[in-house]
């Protein structure tokens, strides 16, 4: 969670309001997935409720939320996922080499799948929940903290 909190605080000027429950399946959400390779390859997913995505995008771009386009909201959401993934990986494997793939919007149900090797957490952004999950195919060392926490 600290990686998520740091990204939201530094770049998006909002304070995480603690851990939260994942939004219900019927909630309108945006799901992003990206893969990373290198010393510790794997996959990262982010799922965020749409009101939170739009609010965060508006803050990031300095725009009025009402005038934000869908394209702008998507671009910022992709960048948010990119930054959180990078922050998480840098915490887990500070000496490892990794390369992030391009984040992609995926079908919402893709963000809900879990696996035995997955680390996942959900935070409250102030406008709704944001969930991140990471699966690493090979760990070179034990994480110092819960991976996506």
């Amino acid at each position: 969670m600290s990686a998520v909190a740091e990204v939201l605080d530094c770049m998006f000027f909002r304070e995480v309001q603690g851990e939260a429950a994942e939004p219900p399946p019927e909630a309108e959400t945006v799901a992003v997935q990206l893969s990373f390779d290198g010393d510790a390859p794997g996959h990262f997913q982010m799922r965020i409720v749409r009101p939170a995505a739009n609010a965060i995008a508006a803050d990031f771009l300095g725009e009025d939320p009402e005038s934000l386009s869908a394209r702008q909201s998507t671009e910022v959401t992709l960048e948010l996922a990119n930054m959180i993934c990078g922050a998480v990986l840098s915490r887990i494997e500070s000496r490892a080499a990794f390369r992030l793939g391009s984040p992609q919007i995926v079908a919402d149900d893709a963000g809900k799948r879990g696996s035995a090797e997955e680390t996942r957490c959900t935070v409250e952004t102030g406008e709704g929940a944001l969930t991140v999950a990471i699966q690493m195919e090979k760990r070179t060392c034990q994480p110092n903290e819960k991976s996506a926490s």
């Binding site: 530094c10 990078g86 922050a87 840098s90 080499a97």
Partner: protein, 128 residues
């Protein structure tokens, strides 16, 4: 003194953010160019002089590392300081990019004041 800056990042949102933060921070800009990847950055540099380059690393096509290599290989461009802005904060990556000629490194996420401080340091701008 006002500076001419080139921002290279494949994310339009990030380019907009960097530009806005730099402008709001009081760092004096006389021109701000944007590029979506290293190839576009080199095309801009072929036409325009800039005082500093702020570049992402993970870009399609000509990425940030390759951009640094091409800048170093070009006598007319190697003197332009390039500052990397990247999500990758691993020691190996930072060391490699500095060895390729990057003059500064900003890790995402960053505080807005960092986005001003690093170019100022690189360009030798006196502090306020």
């Amino acid at each position: 003194m006002a500076y001419r800056v080139l921002i290279a990042d494949d994310s339009p949102a990030m380019r907009s953010f960097v530009r806005r933060v730099i402008e709001l921070s009081g760092f004096e800009l006389s021109a701000c160019f944007e590029a979506g990847d290293g190839a576009e950055a080199l095309a801009v540099l072929n036409k325009e002089w800039v005082d500093a380059i702020l570049t992402d690393i993970n870009m399609p096509g000509v990425d940030g590392e390759e951009l640094l290599r091409r800048l170093a290989a070009d006598e007319s461009l190697r003197g332009i300081p390039a500052i990397v802005i990247s999500t990758d904060a691993t020691e190996n990556r930072i060391a490699r990019l500095l060895a390729l000629g990057a003059k500064g490194y900003i890790t995402k996420p960053f505080r807005p004041e960092t986005l001003r401080a690093e170019p100022e340091r690189t360009l030798g701008v006196p502090c306020d």
